[in-house]
Symmetry: C2
C-alpha cells in the first residue's frame, strides 16, 4: 500500500524495512489518529507536488536574506491562493501540514496575519467593527500583524510603554513611542509586509492622563497603493536571526500618530466620544486561543523532533563506519549501542510529545464546550498543563534535535542534512514558563510507599504511573514546605523567588508524569496487536529513560531501591536491542515525505551520497570555477610569494 | 587601571562593577595567567583597532555567503600581512586572540594552510622535500589544505577509498577516486581557495595492487596563474553549513590524476623508483600535534562559553523585567534566583574549561620534553585526558551557550546578540569520543567509604576531590565488571559495544573529576586573597552543581546520604546569593573587548537598546522602504482583495 520500498533504494534501508514486525500502514494510522488523516496527507502531498506554483527553482538553503524573504512572500500568496486544497477549519492537522509542505520550516509575510491579526479581529471587535474589518482581513485586502512586544518588554503586558492618549477635541487617539525601549520589536511581518497592525498600547483618557491599562488598537501603517509608511510611523526589519529569516520581524516607532476613536477594539472596553472610559463587564477570557496556539506549537515541535529522529535513524542505517568484529566488514552505525541510545529515546520522546499535543487539543475542545455551558472548572488545569508542556517540550525538542544532529557526524553540520534549519526553527519556540506550582498542589494527594518499578517485561503501566506520581507528589510537597517556611520571614514574592529553582524542577517532573501517562494510555488504546507491542516497548523506554535521568529524585528516601535503579538501567539497554530492528519502520511511521523532510541525509530511498554531491553543486560559490577572492587577494598574495622565492 | 567604567555607561552596570569585592585587574591577571599576558592583550587589541585594513564596513552578520567568503579571504591576507604584530610561536595565546579580533568566530581560506598543511610539511617531509616545499608554504607562494575525510568515511583512516597507485613506467602515482563515496569532503579551503593539498590516499605499489595502507601526498590542484582546476581534478564548495560559512569547505574528485613519485611524503615511508615500498622504521608518532590542537580547541571552546556567559550576565544586569515585590519597580533580571542559576554555573564551567586548557597545554609541553629524552610514559594519560576533555567540553559548551542564549529571552534569538554565531561556531567542534576506559582503570585504586561532602563553608577541597574520585572509581569498577561478564559469552568488541553507554558515562565522570581538581588546584594557587575567595566560591559552585546533576551516582550504595544531597542543593542556592553581586565583575575578568564579543547585548557600556536599533537599521531589507515583494506578490494580492469587497 504504502509504496515505501521501491526499486533502486539503498539495500540497507530496504532490509530494515522488511525486518519490522508490524504493518507500516497500520502504524501510520495509529500515529496520525486514523486512516482518513493519512489518506488526506497523501492527497495534500500529491496536490502540492503537482502544483508548479509551489516549486523552488533553487532550494531555500542557497538563498540569501533578500531571496528567502521573496520566496516567503511568493509562497504565502500561492498558499493562500490555493487554500481550497485543505480543510481550512483544521489548522491543527491539514493547515500545519500544508504549510510545512509548501514553505518548510519558516514563517512568512502572512503568518501573523492569520495567526494573530485575524483572531483579534474575530475576538475583540464589536459588531460594527466586525462588519468593517472582517471582510478585508479574510479577503486579503489588507495585510495585518500583531504588535505587542517592545524592545524593553516582552511578555509583561502591564509594563508596555507605548501610549494611546485620547483627544476628545478631534475624537482621536494619539499613538506615541515615548522612549527608545517602547519601540515595538519582533512582530512578524511588521518590518516590510504588513500595512496594518493590532497595536497594544497603554490607554490614557478621561481626565488628565488617566491610565486605563493596555488595550488593542487597529492601526494602519502603510499606504494602500504605494506601501510607503504613513506619516508619524517609522518601521523596518530587525535584521537577521538564528533562523526563520523568511520573516521580516519588524520594529515600529510612533511619533504622535493619530487614529480615529473607533479604531480601538471595542468588544470589551470602550472610550466614548467625550473620552469617558467604559470598563469591560468582566475580565476577558482571551485565554482559550492561547491554549489552542500552544497545542499547535507542541504538535509542531513534536514534528520537528520527529523529523530529526527520522533523518538520524535512516542515515544511521545507511552509514557504515568501523567494525565491531574485526574483518567482518564495516557495520551500519545503528548497530552501535551508543548510537541506539542517541536515536531511540529521542524517537520515543517525539511520539510522547505528539500524543500530548493531541491530548491538549482534545482537552481544549472539551473545555471550550464546557465554557459554552458556563462551566470553566477545568480551565486552570488546562492552562497549567499546556504552559508546562510548552516549556518542557520546546527545550527538550531543541536538545534532542542537536543530539540527533551530532549523532550524524560531520554531515549533520551541513545544511544538506536539514538539521541546522530544523534546530533554528524549533528553538524559536523555546521560552521558559515554570509557574503554576501552587495549583499543582491541588492535584497532589497523599503519599504512597515504595517504588513499584520492576523488570520492563513485568512492569504494568500502572506501576510506572504510580512511581512517577509518587515522585512528582513528593517534590510538590517538599517545594511547598520550603516555600511556606521562607514565607515566615519574607514577602510571598521574595519567598517564591528564593524557591523558584525547586519549583521549576517540580513543575517539570509533573509535566513528565503527564507525558508518560498520555503515552501509555494512548498505546493501550492501539487496536493492532503488532503495532501496540512495539509502541508499548517504546513508551516504556521513554519512561525508563526519564527515570534513569531523574534517578536522584526517584531514590530519595529509599523510594526506589538501588536494585530497582540498576534494573532500570539494564532494562533500557535490553529495550534498545529489541527496538533496533524496528527503528527504520518506526521512523517511516511518521509518514514524512522527502518534501516535508527536506533532508539529503534522511531521504526515503537512502541514496544519500549522490544526492549530497548534487546538492553541493548548487552552492552559491560553485557558479564560477574561480571566485573573485583569487583576483582580489589570494592571487596577488601568491604571486608576490613566488617572486620572493 | 582598566578603564572599564566610563561616563555614559548604563548605570546598572556601573553599580554592579563598583559592588564587586575584588580588584578587576588582579582577577584578569589571574584568569589569563599573568600581567604580561593581559598587557599584551591590550596591545594587540589596540593594534587591531587602529589598523584600517581590519575594518568591516558592514558587520559580518549582514553579509551573504559570497560576501562572507570574500571577507574571510580579505581578512586572512590582511592578518598574515600583519603577522609581526604577534608572537608567532604563541598560537595558543596571542595567535588565537589575534585571529578572534581580526576575523571573529569564523574560519577562512587559510585556516587549514596554517593549521594542517604547514604542520604536515614540517613533520612528514624528507630533507629534499622540506627544502622544496617549506619556502613556498611559509612564504605564501602556494595555498594548501589537508584532504583526508571523504564523503563516506570520516575519522576511520584505514577505510578511506581514494587510491594512489604507483606506475613504475612513468615513475608517477595515479590518484583516483574509485567510488562516489571516495570523494574528498569537508576539507577547509579546498573548494575555492587552495591550489595544493596534502591528500591522504591508499597506496598500492610493489606488484599487482599490493596494498600498503594510507599515506599522505603533496598534490597540486589548481593552476598557479589562472587558478583553474588542473586536468583530472574536479573540485568545488560543499555548500552552506550551520556556521563557519566564511570557509569554502570543499569536495575533490580525482580522475586518474598523475603526480610525480617524489610527491609522496617520504620522511617515514618511501616508494623507490622501481616501485619497491620501504616501510617506516617504527610506527609514527604524529600524536603530539593532535594533543596540542586539542588543547587549543579546548581553550577556544572555553572562550566561546565565556563570551556567552559575559553577554548573558551583562544583559541580565541591564534588562529589567517584572517586579519581585509589587510596586517596588521592575528588577534587574539577574535578581531572579532562576536567572542566577542559568548564568553562574555556566560562568563557572567556562572557567573550569579554560583552566583545564592551560593544564593540558602545560602537560603537553612536559610530555614533549620527556619524549625528547626517550620517555613516553605519560603519553597515554595525556591522550586519554585530552580526548575525554575535548568530548565533554565541546558538548557542554554547546549546551551552555544555548542555555545562556535562552536566558536572554527573545533578543538572544537575534544575531545582534552574537549567540547564534557563537553557538554555530562552537558546536562545530563537537564530536564524540568515549573510549579509554580500560586505561582509566590504571588510575583507579581501592574503594573509600562514605562521602565527605558537607556545608560548602566547611568543606575542604580535599573533601570534594575525595568524593568525586570515589564515585568515578566506583563507576570504573562497575563498568569493568559488566564488561568482563559480557566477555565470557561474546567477542571483546561485542562486549565493548554492549557496555559502551556505561563506559561513556564513566569516562565523562572521570573528565569531570579532572575538571574539578584542576579548578580547585588553580584557585588554591591564586595569590590575591579577594580574588581567591570569590573564585573559590565559584569553583565550589561548579563542583556542587556537578554533584547535584549526578546525584544518582553519588547516592548509590549510600555513599552520599540524603541529608548531604539536600545540603548540596541548598548550598548551591546560597552560593548563588553570595556570587550575585560579583557576577558582572567576574564577567569583566575575561577581559573581552566589544571587538572580541561582537554582541549588542553584551556591550561593555550596557547601552544595549540604542545599539540594537542602530544594528537593525543595517538589515539588508532596510535598504529600501518598500521591498520588491510588494510589487510582485502582496500589492496585486491586496488590490484584488480590495476590488472584491
Amino acid at each position: 500500500y504504502d509504496n515505501i520500498i521501491r526499486p533502486g533504494d539503498n539495500p540497507d534501508l530496504t532490509k530494515e524495512r522488511k525486518a519490522a514486525s508490524f504493518n507500516l500502514w497500520k502504524m501510520q494510522c495509529f500515529v496520525h489518529e486514523g486512516e482518513d488523516v493519512v489518506k488526506r496527507r497523501k492527497e495534500i502531498l500529491e496536490f502540492v507536488e503537482n502544483t508548479r506554483e509551489f516549486d523552488d527553482p533553487i532550494p531555500a538553503e542557497f538563498l540569501n536574506r533578500e531571496e528567502i524573504v521573496d520566496r516567503g512572500a511568493r509562497k504565502a500568496k500561492a498558499m493562500t491562493d490555493n487554500a481550497d486544497a485543505i480543510d481550512g477549519s483544521d489548522f491543527f492537522g491539514e493547515g500545519l501540514y500544508f504549510q510545512s509542505l509548501v514553505i518548510g520550516r519558516e514563517l512568512h509575510s502572512m503568518s501573523l496575519h492569520y495567526g494573530m491579526f485575524l483572531p483579534t479581529i474575530q475576538g475583540q471587535t464589536d459588531d460594527d467593527q466586525m462588519d468593517e474589518w472582517m471582510g478585508p482581513t479574510v479577503g486579503r485586502a489588507i495585510l495585518g500583524t500583531f504588535a505587542q512586544t517592545e524592545m524593553g518588554h516582552g511578555s509583561n503586558l502591564t509594563k508596555l510603554e507605548t501610549t494611546a492618549t485620547y483627544d476628545p477635541k478631534t475624537e482621536e487617539f494619539v499613538l506615541h513611542t515615548p522612549t527608545l525601549t517602547a519601540t515595538k520589536w519582533w512582530p512578524g511581518g511588521l518590518g516590510k509586509s504588513a500595512n496594518v497592525a493590532v497595536v497594544m498600547a497603554q490607554l490614557y483618557t478621561n481626565g488628565v492622563n488617566k491610565y486605563q491599562g493596555p488595550h488593542p488598537f487597529f492601526v494602519p501603517l502603510r499606504d494602500h497603493d504605494t506601501h510607503m509608511p504613513l506619516k508619524g510611523v517609522t518601521l523596518g526589519d530587525i535584521g537577521p536571526k538564528f533562523g526563520i529569516n523568511s520573516n521580516d520581524n519588524g520594529f515600529l516607532i510612533f511619533d504622535h500618530y493619530r487614529i480615529p476613536r473607533r479604531n480601538m477594539f471595542m468588544r470589551f472596553s470602550k472610550v466614548l466620544p467625550d473620552g469617558t472610559y467604559v470598563a469591560p463587564p468582566h475580565a476577558k477570557l482571551g485565554f482559550g486561543t492561547m491554549v489552542f496556539v500552544r497545542s499547535i506549537m507542541i504538535k509542531d515541535q513534536a514534528s520537528q523532533l520527529g523529523a530529526a529522529a527520522v533523518i538520524g535513524i535512516r542515515y544511521s542505517a545507511v552509514r557504515r563506519q568501523g567494525e565491531i568484529n574485526e574483518g567482518a566488514g564495516e557495520v551500519q552505525v545503528i548497530d552501535y549501542r551508543t548510537q541506539q541510545f542517541r536515536l531511540l529515546p529521542q524517537l520515543a520522546r517525539a511520539f510522547a510529545f505528539l500524543f500530548a499535543a493531541y491530548e491538549i487539543k482534545t482537552l481544549y475542545m472539551l473545555v471550550t464546550e464546557q465554557i459554552g455551558t458556563g462551566n470553566s472548572d477545568m480551565l486552570p488545569e488546562l492552562h497549567a498543563v499546556s504552559s508546562g508542556l510548552k516549556s518542557v517540550v520546546s527545550w527538550e525538542t531543541a536538545q534532542g534535535i542537536e543530539q540527533l544532529r551530532l549523532a550524524c557526524g560531520g554531515h549533520g553540520y551541513s545544511r544538506a542534512s536539514a538539521f541546522p534549519d530544523i534546530y533554528t526553527y524549533a528553538v524559536g519556540g523555546c521560552t521558559y514558563e515554570g509557574e503554576n506550582i501552587v495549583m499543582l498542589l491541588q492535584v497532589a494527594s497523599q503519599d504512597s510507599g515504595k517504588a513499584r518499578i520492576r523488570s520492563w517485561k513485568q512492569c504494568t503501566d500502572e506501576d510506572i504511573i504510580h512511581d512517577f506520581e509518587a515522585v512528582a507528589r513528593r517534590m510538590i510537597f517538599s517545594s511547598y514546605d520550603r516555600l511556606k517556611s521562607f514565607e515566615t520571614t519574607m514577602t510571598k514574592k521574595e519567598a517564591w523567588n528564593k524557591c523558584s529553582i525547586d519549583l521549576c524542577k517540580t513543575a517539570r517532573m509533573h509535566v513528565k508524569l503527564y507525558l508518560v501517562k498520555v503515552f501509555l494510555r494512548r498505546v493501550s488504546a492501539c487496536e493492532d496487536a503488532a503495532c501496540k507491542k512495539v509502541m508499548h516497548t517504546l513508551a516504556t523506554l521513554y519512561a525508563f529513560d526519564l527515570i534513569s535521568g531523574a534517578a536522584g529524585y526517584f531514590m530519595k528516601g529509599g523510594f526506589m531501591s538501588e536494585l530497582q535503579s540498576e534494573l532500570v538501567q539494564s532494562d533500557l539497554y535490553e529495550m534498545l536491542e529489541v527496538l533496533r530492528p524496528e527503528s527504520v519502520a518506526l521512523a517511516d511511521s511518521w509518514d514524512m515525505s522527502d518534501l516535508e523532510l527536506r533532508s539529503v541525509l534522511g531521504r526515503r530511498d537512502g541514496n544519500v551520497y549522490p544526492a549530497l554531491l548534487e546538492w553541493a553543486k548548487k552552492s552559491q560559490l560553485n557558479k564560477t570555477e574561480v571566485l573573485p577572492t583569487f583576483e582580489k587577494y589570494l592571487g596577488p598574495m601568491m604571486k608576490e610569494g613566488r617572486a620572493h622565492l
